[in-house]
Symmetry: C2
Subunit: 162 residues, 2 copies
DNA sequence: TAGGTTATTAGGAATGATTACTATTATAAA
DNA sequence: TTTATAATAGTAATCATTCCTAATAACCTA
């Protein structure tokens, strides 16, 4: 599986990888746990987390850690951005091409201005999933999404939803 | 303080705001708690969290919620990006101008492609603070930062640190 | 300036996702 | 096979954040 690390391929690890790869929906650890348990009823949560980390460190899957929402796992390891629902944490793929050039230039520029060593970046879009858009409608004003904005986008940027 | 919400200005709220505004170092809730406690020794953690949320929702401060690190608070409410240390979670300001045009265009483009309602975005740079750069040197290879990369940048982007 | 309404507090308990621990088991190499 | 040790199940621990509630303090109005 990975030469230098002496990893072994166990049934548990195999099933976890399969579940993540067959789901294009950015599952959480407990969703993965539920699905794997159908086949391996005695698997434990610790095993799920440990393997997700290992699989991610080997590059077989990607670990997504949005701010203000729990981590999720992506079987698609190609470079792409995500939209995070600010209410329920659900994650969708952003169907736009990566800004590699722009952002790499930014990283280089920043590297010369800061005392930090720059290794990469994260860009995520913030919004509402279709489901939460619906629910939004019958909420009192003071729980409306614009009240959430400040807490959810780092830059306070706002935009009319489509 | 805020007309529609009937907020009151208490000593606790005042002190918390003052601490956040006088510190340009993106403090965590417990760091703020420690500092406020010098003046108000009986203040409680719940009060700190509640007020930080309220102050952020009023736009007096900004709440930063990087993935994989605890939340921090910024007295500088102008639009700017941040560098997050992937080891200790410390946050520094990125001294580069915001990508407003580029990213607003992206948001608009994305809005037409996804079923999500897009409200904004978060961009953060990931790296090592000066302190952790030092510590890095005498670490065994398998704990070196490149091992952390996959877990920390959503896009797996890599770059030589300066 | 006092009284009344209610936002806010202190203190402590609860939450919940994630991580750590450990005796036992399964994997892969020889 | 035998053997070394990576990995597991089950469970306990962590720890940042949120929740709860009786008591208090801000602010409005008379
Ligand atoms: Mn994806
Ligand atoms: Mn800042
Ligand atoms: Zn949602
Ligand atoms: Zn650091």
């Amino acid at each position: 599986m990975n030469q230098e690390k002496n990893y072994r391929m166990t049934h548990q690890r195999e099933m976890i990888l399969e579940v993540v790869q067959k789901n294009h929906s950015h599952l959480t650890a407990d969703e993965i746990y539920d699905r794997v348990r159908k086949k391996l009823p005695r698997i434990s949560m610790g095993t799920v987390y440990r393997n997700l980390d290992i699989l991610a460190s080997c590059g077989f899957i990607k670990k997504l850690q949005p701010g203000y929402a729990q981590m999720r796992f992506d079987g698609n390891t190609r470079d792409h951005y995500h939209v995070v629902c600010m209410r329920c944490g659900k994650i969708g793929d952003a169907q736009i091409e990566p800004l590699d050039n722009t952002l790499e230039n930014l990283e280089n520029a920043l590297g010369n201005l800061t005392s930090y060593g720059i290794f990469g970046h994260n860009l995520e879009f913030v919004g509402l999933c279709p489901n939460c858009m619906e629910l939004e409608k019958d909420l009192p004003d003071d729980q409306q999404t614009n009240q959430l904005m400040m807490e959810v986008t780092e830059d306070g940027s706002q935009r009319k939803p489509n």
